[in-house]
């Protein structure tokens, strides 16, 4: 079985490479087909024609598109994703700086959705057709139909503007110096370097944007968990466990929750990937120096190398999360092999 799963994973990785290749080609060509003078936009209207032409040469913009793609792909395979005309640095440097901020935000968002989504779903199932269930339904509908950035602005208004509980912007407060960079995750780097002030401050800053992003995932996961728990509560082994005098909390969290998590885990993985792709507006609202905000700036400035890199990274995230979800599901339910799950 283990060998079978390993083979399956290797096959999936190979397939993923082809998917990424196709994605990179698509985004590369689309970014360059938009009628914009990339070099002139980057240097401004007052730059000399020689300087603009030099930049076109450096970026190979005068080459045929397939030739441009070949050179870009060759560089990408060596870790060189090109040069950003807006940040004036290598795109890979930008990724190293901005991606951890978005990943940290995404992971906290995932944590919120995991805890609150499951909690809400279990409570709604346990107390079906009561106020708790109706409240959970209300949260689910609101979370599904409302875009994340609207929640972001509302929470900012409520918690920063009126109540002054949470900060408005940024990853850290002014005057709090970031910890030495090891992972780029301020919470982890703060823990490693023993800077509890940074850990606390970073979490304080993470709460509003992460919660804004998490709400649609909480909505979805709570409904799926509720349905799954309701279904499992009717199973005979649960009746047996109760009849044997096992405490209700143990029945719920040990015997019911684990099998109920299977459909949720599948959704959770995609939710994480969706969080990353939806983060751009939340990052703009909260002035979060993340990867998605970088992508927005790149698109506004026609920064073709940065755009390609952003889309490639997001595509990779989707593929990776898909694979992780498949593995996690097969662990949760050993009856399911990876091949069946896919």
């Amino acid at each position: 079985m283990l060998l079978h799963n390993v083979k399956f994973i290797l096959r999936r990785i190979l397939h993923s490479i082809f998917v990424l290749l196709g994605l990179s080609m698509l985004v590369f060509f689309i970014a360059r087909m938009v009628p914009t003078d990339i070099a002139r936009s980057a240097l401004g209207q007052q730059a000399s024609e020689q300087a603009v032409e030099k930049l076109r040469d450096d970026m190979r913009l005068n080459d045929p598109l397939p030739v441009q793609y070949f050179h870009w792909l060759r560089g990408a395979l060596r870790g060189d994703l090109g040069f950003s005309v807006t940040t004036k640095r290598a795109v890979i440097v930008d990724l190293r700086e901005f991606l951890p901020a978005t990943l940290e935000l995404g992971l906290f968002s995932l944590l919120f959705s995991l805890i609150l989504g499951q909690l809400l779903g279990v409570l709604a199932a346990r107390y079906q057709n009561t106020v708790i269930d109706h409240f959970s339904r209300l949260v689910a509908y609101s979370g599904t139909v409302t875009p994340s950035f609207i929640f972001g602005i509302m929470f900012m208004l409520l918690f920063s503007y009126w109540l002054h509980i949470f900060p408005t912007i940024g990853r850290l407060s002014p005057g709090v110096t970031p910890p030495p960079t090891m992972t780029g995750f301020y919470v982890i780097d703060g823990l490693i370097s023993g800077r509890l002030d940074v850990v606390g401050n970073a979490i304080w800053h993470l709460i509003l944007p992460a919660f804004s992003l998490a709400l649609s995932a909480i909505a979805q996961e709570s409904r799926i968990t509720r349905a799954s728990v309701v279904d499992n509560l009717r199973k005979s082994y649960v009746r047996t466990a109760r009849a044997n005098g096992i405490p209700e909390s143990k029945v719920m969290f040990k015997y019911v929750l684990k099998p109920s998590l299977i459909p949720t885990v599948a959704v959770m993985g995609m939710d994480f990937a969706c969080v990353l792709t939806n983060a751009f507006l939340v990052e703009l609202v909260f002035f979060w120096p993340g990867f998605s905000r970088y992508g927005v700036t790149a698109m506004q400035d026609g920064d073709v190398f940065a755009i390609s890199a952003v889309v490639l990274v997001l595509g990779s995230m989707f593929i990776l999360m898909n694979l992780i979800v498949d593995i996690a599901t097969s662990i949760l339910d050993p009856r399911i092999t990876l091949a069946e799950r896919s």
């Binding site: 938009v34 009628p35 914009t36 003078d37 990339i38 002139r40 936009s41 240097l43 401004g44 209207q45 007052q46 730059a47 000399s48 020689q50 300087a51 030099k54 807006t86 940040t87 004036k88 640095r89 930008d94 700086e97 901005f98 602005i153 900012m156 208004l157 920063s160 503007y161 002054h164 408005t168 912007i169 407060s173 002014p174 005057g175 709090v176 509890l196 002030d197 940074v198 850990v199 606390g200 401050n201 970073a202 979490i203 304080w204 405490p247 909390s249 143990k250 703009l284 609202v285 909260f286 002035f287 120096p289 905000r293 970088y294 700036t297 400035d301 026609g302």
Partner: protein, 536 residues
């Protein structure tokens, strides 16, 4: 029972941990001598790469030029204490430098630094290159005298070069990177993007790309630091790259933002004005909004058709919304302002008269190019489209991205017929506006009005050293452009900033030329008032 008790214990412990983290992590606001302003964060701090207004606003904190815009529409001495035409014509200029002006590393600004800075700009060809391209040679005659030799006479040369910043030659040479300029390598571009080699009132201490620039006051700044109305100089300036209006409003209320940037919608400024302790400050700068009419594309290549369009537009419709003045080539604040300029008004009879003389009919398709993303342009385009439609013209509005607009405006055939434009002065004087007429083509000059008479008039104004005579020429140029109807002038607007009331802005500051308008050397802070506002 035991399980419930254990559960309760877990909840209480979790809450205690959360409170502890908050206690450790939350930071109360303190009364610091720090001013935060928001703007589009520039990505490069190299003066030779400063191509956009966001760059100049940062550049003015770190660097100085030879001259500086004054409140009367001209320039005053800055690093140069005087200047003069050396050949009587305006092709050779000599600038005498002020002695004792220091760079941030404590060394003196000399003629050698000025020569290096200009030669660097000319070699790189980036940034505000168009303002130095007429320089044939720049020479240090002695340690404090610089001579410029131009290709042709330019009477307003001192105005043009105010934001051609002087860099510390020794510092740049010590930080050269690999490049295509022989011994000069990359001319220090790579290093200067993230460091400063200036003499300006503030020195760059941190550059977080895409996020923030942080500056600290340079105590030995050559202009000194006087108190203004009881306020003290600002010690730290943070320029954050935030442009979300909703977020900026929240920050202003919480006093986490002290000064906003100028291009929020007017509605946002009305809301900011309503915040207690926040006031709006006019930048005293004329931004002229209008539509270029493409003079090389049918049907706007016909002067009668262009005049017909000019008579069809309702010039009064937008002015009350923006509380602004009618648009014109020469700003009301300019010494060359002509109250008698023959502006157009909406007159459908005259429109019909002009159409009768045109070789095109009203049914000829007319394209209005509408770059997405500018609130003013959106209103202007909507207004023009409505007026022209109502008057019977066959119009089509094409909404495209700004990048695509720039690309399309690289050729007359693809520019469209009516292209919204706004000219914010980059250097004092009418010549700045006329630079968009001297060289037709591109987005900045998408009127494509390649007219020898106009080129001749502009060249003549550049050769006219006497200001009064030059102003007269400007008025003639304005009348000519109006007669040729190459632009529909919509409005002249004063941009605003919203600032906290504990900031004091020097009333004698510049006329609001792009960049100079937010020179933090002209701002002071009242810390007692700030403490009051923060409730401390």
């Amino acid at each position: 029972m035991q399980a419930k008790s254990a559960c309760r214990t877990r909840v209480v412990l979790s809450m205690l941990v959360a409170c502890a983290l908050f206690a450790v992590g939350s930071v109360a606001q303190s009364v610091e001598n720090v001013v935060v302003l928001n703007d589009m964060a520039p990505f490069s701090c190299d003066p030779a790469e400063m191509a956009f207004w966001t760059h100049w606003r940062a550049g003015v904190q770190m660097y100085d030029g030879l001259t500086y815009p004054d409140a009367d529409g001209g320039v005053r001495p800055h690093l140069a204490e005087s200047w003069a035409v050396a050949d009587g014509v305006g092709k050779v200029w000599e600038f005498k430098l002020r002695q004792g002006a220091l760079f941030h590393d404590g060394t003196e600004v000399t003629a050698e630094d000025v020569v290096f800075s200009f030669e660097r700009m000319m070699a790189l060809g980036t940034g505000a290159y168009s303002r130095v391209k007429a320089i044939r040679a720049v020479t240090a005659l002695d340690p404090y005298t610089v001579q410029f030799e131009l290709d042709s006479p330019i009477s307003v040369f001192p105005n043009m070069i105010w934001s051609i910043y002087v860099v510390n030659k020794d510092v740049v040479l010590a930080n050269l990177g690999e490049g295509d300029h022989g011994d000069m390598g990359d001319y220090g571009v790579e290093w200067l993007r993230f460091h400063d080699a200036g003499s300006g009132p503030y020195t760059l201490v941190e550059h977080q790309v895409n996020l923030e620039l942080r500056f600290e006051r340079f105590a030995d700044y050559f202009l000194g630091w006087q108190e203004i109305a009881g306020g003290v100089p600002v010690e730290t300036v943070r320029l954050i790259g935030l442009w979300e209006a909703a977020t900026a409003k929240n920050l202003m209320v919480n006093r986490e933002l002290d000064m906003t940037y100028t291009t929020f919608p007017r509605q946002t400024f009305a809301e900011l004005d309503a915040i207690p302790g926040v006031e709006l400050v006019s930048l005293n700068k004329a931004h002229v909004y209008g539509f270029y009419l493409n003079c090389q594309a049918a049907p706007t290549d016909d002067v009668h058709f262009r005049r017909a369009l000019s008579y069809a537009f309702n010039y009064e419709s937008l002015l009350p919304i923006w509380d602004s003045a009618p648009g014109r080539l020469i700003s009301t604040r300019s010494p060359a302002f002509n109250p008698e300029a023959p502006l157009y008004t909406q007159d459908l009879d005259k429109m019909r008269e002009e159409l009768a003389q045109s070789c095109y009919s009203q049914d000829t398709p007319l394209i209005i190019t509408a770059p997405i993303g500018d609130a003013f342009f959106d209103k202007m385009v909507a207004s023009l489209a409505a007026d022209l439609s109502q008057a019977g013209f066959n119009i089509k509005v094409e909404q495209i991205s700004f990048g695509e607009t720039i690309a399309r405006c690289s050729a007359a055939e693809t520019s469209g017929n009516c292209i919204p434009t706004q000219s914010g002065p980059e250097y004092p004087g009418v010549d700045n506006v006329l630079s968009n007429w001297a060289t037709p083509g591109g987005y900045a000059a998408s009127h494509w009005f390649d007219d020898p008479t106009l080129q001749g008039m502009i060249a003549q104004s550049r050769e006219t050293l006497d200001e009064a005579a030059r102003n007269l020429l400007y008025q003639q140029i304005e009348a000519y452009i109006l007669e040729q109807a190459a632009e529909i002038f919509v409005t002249e607007l004063d941009p605003f900033r919203a600032i906290q009331e504990y900031l004091i802005v020097n009333e004698n500051q510049s006329s609001g030329i792009i960049g100079a308008a937010v020179n933090m050397h002209d701002v002071r802070i009242d810390l007692e008032k700030k403490a009051e506002f923060l409730g401390q």
